[in-house]
Symmetry: C2
Subunit: 220 residues, 2 copies
Amino acid sequence: MSEPPPNPGGPQRSAGRDEILAAATDLFGESGYDGVSMSAIAQRAGISKANVFHHFGSKDALYLEVMRAARAYFEPGTERLIEQNQDFGEQLRELIGRDFARMREHPDLARLILREILESGPSRGQALASEVFGEHFAELTGLFEQAQRQGGLARDIPPALIATLAIACNTMLFQSQHLLRHLPGVDFVDDGERYATLVARVLLDGLRDEQKDAEGESDA
Amino acid sequence: MSEPPPNPGGPQRSAGRDEILAAATDLFGESGYDGVSMSAIAQRAGISKANVFHHFGSKDALYLEVMRAARAYFEPGTERLIEQNQDFGEQLRELIGRDFARMREHPDLARLILREILESGPSRGQALASEVFGEHFAELTGLFEQAQRQGGLARDIPPALIATLAIACNTMLFQSQHLLRHLPGVDFVDDGERYATLVARVLLDGLRDEQKDAEGESDA
DNA sequence: ACACTAACCGACCGACCGGTCAGCCCCGAG
DNA sequence: CTCGGGGCTGACCGGTCGGTCGGTTAGTGT
């Protein structure tokens, strides 16, 4: 009952490692490790199941390879814009906007990593922290620490908490976008720009009404 | 949905049923839908697998029942404290603190729901929104809307976004606590009180340093 | 005593899982 | 030309999955 690969419109080139990797990334991202069979990956890649085992020794090895690629994609320098002397608020807004846009651009990879975080127990969490996310997180933390030292940022809030919150907002919005979209009053899911602006504004200046809570300063 | 097999139509309760439900809740919470077999549930409940199918027609039906129970647990009035005339900041702090504490108190239930959110596609998301989370979310949104109308809360931020952020911070921290714990500078994971206080403070007053506050930043 | 029924069980089924294996095809080296 | 080896395949394996089946036990109304 095996159908020959019709591959309509697709190039007839030889199916190789990369195609397997791409197919696996798609499927793992959609349905998670347990939700995807090696047969499904092979079928998506247009090759035989045995061939998948030929290139990657086992399902775990393939999954690990996919994760490595995903991590490599999300890792590269995110915070280059910090060096610039622009307003910190603008930096934060752009940082949030970029991160969110990247997630929406590669939803499979994002979900892959999110799932890994959710499903990781105490032991796995430590490995993830030190090997995958540590660098990125430290970079972010350092950024906020620097902003604190330069002034303009409240000093009694741990930089790590700021980084966590910034990531959390993006992650959560992306993660539950299909749910949020149908919730009453939610109209910011599809407008990344507006969302980033609002979140940055909340994080910077808080929710409190400035007009009422007059502490003796005037706004622009 | 039709139920051709011996239909447990009415609310028939038995010790067996409850034990199955408890076992299923534990296991599903730990390992997710695909990660748990009906045999495992039966074994945990101390009965035969066939008996599980006798009480719940299928694995999906059992999972759905577990989800219903989980939802019922997380739903009950969270925002009773709103009526009180205490400071809104204090209300927010307590709300965040309570929600987080409840998550840590029943991690399996929390992970169950979190996973459901993550794994839900566009179609499932709509069902979840309308049937499970809609009520709770609307309650939260209404709370913030009221606070806005009473003054003390910036009016140009959608209440739904505030609700999303409040939930997002808690959810994310809980979800990735095992990872965060090992990240540099993270010392607020295990101290729910301190965490809630800090987050409420950020949400209310923002990150900006009040002493400096002025928008004219100077390069050093 | 009987009939009826829900709760419960051991054994079993087909489907599918991850993984293996012997061998085919193709191509470059000798 | 032969030869060998890697990409690739269909057939197959043991095991587990969700789910079914025939039958037993316990309780209850008559």
